[in-house]
Symmetry: C2
Subunit: 196 residues, 2 copies
């Protein structure tokens, strides 16, 4: 079921105007009229697609993170996840940071402008879910030395933490470099990683 071109275009110009406006002002200061004016569409068209601006915010975040989720899933299928050395970045992390770099404009604005950080928590969910799938797929549950849920909490929050700081510091390191560092920590464990 291909969607009507007009639908695609309307959603596109609305979300573009939204992200663009977030560069100038905070979310509370953006009105629907504001939005549709910049998007050069009629105000009623907005309401045909979204309930209100909160609905739009949610949809925008959801769309971006769904694509991340799909990219992570796609990379899992193609690559053998287990065979990996300490000197090459893990395909999973490469995919992750490639995405984060490609959409850096979007994420930095979102992290900065959306106070309650809906992006952060949603990204954490996506990471957690993808890690869960990897573990499940390789039947690693049986061999695990600690409870799965605790491990998943550890994994996703540590990754998100690193990501957030990476953005905060202006992405000084390359995406590939970041992927390599996370690969090393996860392979060695934090103790070995710090030289113990």
């Amino acid at each position: 079921m291909k969607e009507d071109r007009r639908i695609i275009r309307s959603r596109k110009v609305i979300t573009e105007a939204f992200v663009s406006l977030l560069k100038e002002k905070g979310f509370p200061d953006i009105s629907v009229a504001d939005l549709t004016e910049h998007a050069e569409i009629n105000r009623s068209t907005f309401y045909a697609h979204y309930k209100d601006k909160f609905d739009l915010l949610h949809a925008v975040i959801e769309e971006k993170l769904t694509s991340l989720s799909e990219e992570l899933e796609a990379s899992r299928v193609s690559d053998s996840v287990l065979s990996n050395t300490i000197d090459s970045p893990h395909p999973y992390f490469v995919t992750l940071f490639d995405h984060l770099q490609t959409h850096a404009g979007f994420y930095t604005i979102m992290f900065k402008r959306i106070e309650d950080s809906a992006v952060r928590s949603r990204m954490q969910e996506v990471i957690r879910e993808s890690q869960f799938i990897i573990i499940s797929h390789f039947k690693l549950e049986q061999k695990m030395l600690i409870p799965m849920d605790i491990l998943l909490d550890y994994l996703c929050s540590s990754i998100i933490g690193v990501v957030e700081k990476w953005y905060d510091n202006g992405m000084k390191y390359s995406a590939n470099y970041m992927a390599l560092q996370l690969t090393r920590i996860s392979m060695l464990g934090t103790d070995k990683a710090m030289g113990l």
Copy 2:
């Protein structure tokens, strides 16, 4: 009578796609399907606005040169055309070259890609007409030492010739510099201009 947003947008994306495609291939190699695909609209929408691609070409040229014509007319009204020194560029030429610079992307492509050079001849008409209006307005006809039509032919073809070469050579000189040079030639005459 404000026009429907959809009309504005459709025309806009079509002409943008058209100019964009002319950067890649010649006019004969551009199909309507090509055009609408790049513009991301339905093919039938194209036919709702234009007869065929020749009609589009004509419309695009006409629109741009109408705006030039209007800009020249507007500058005539505001400025006193007669009082001018040899050291400051004439308002008319400033307006002309400002326009040519602003829309350089469009004109260079048109001069280069459209073989029969419909742009050149149309621009010549606009220049000729605007010069005619200036002469008429200041009642200069009576004092003229040579027939008006010959002078107009001389004026518009010399200006167009300089403009075309300016584009050909990659606009090495600034718009303002060009305006100044044409001002000097027209005030001094070619003989004095060359130092006789």
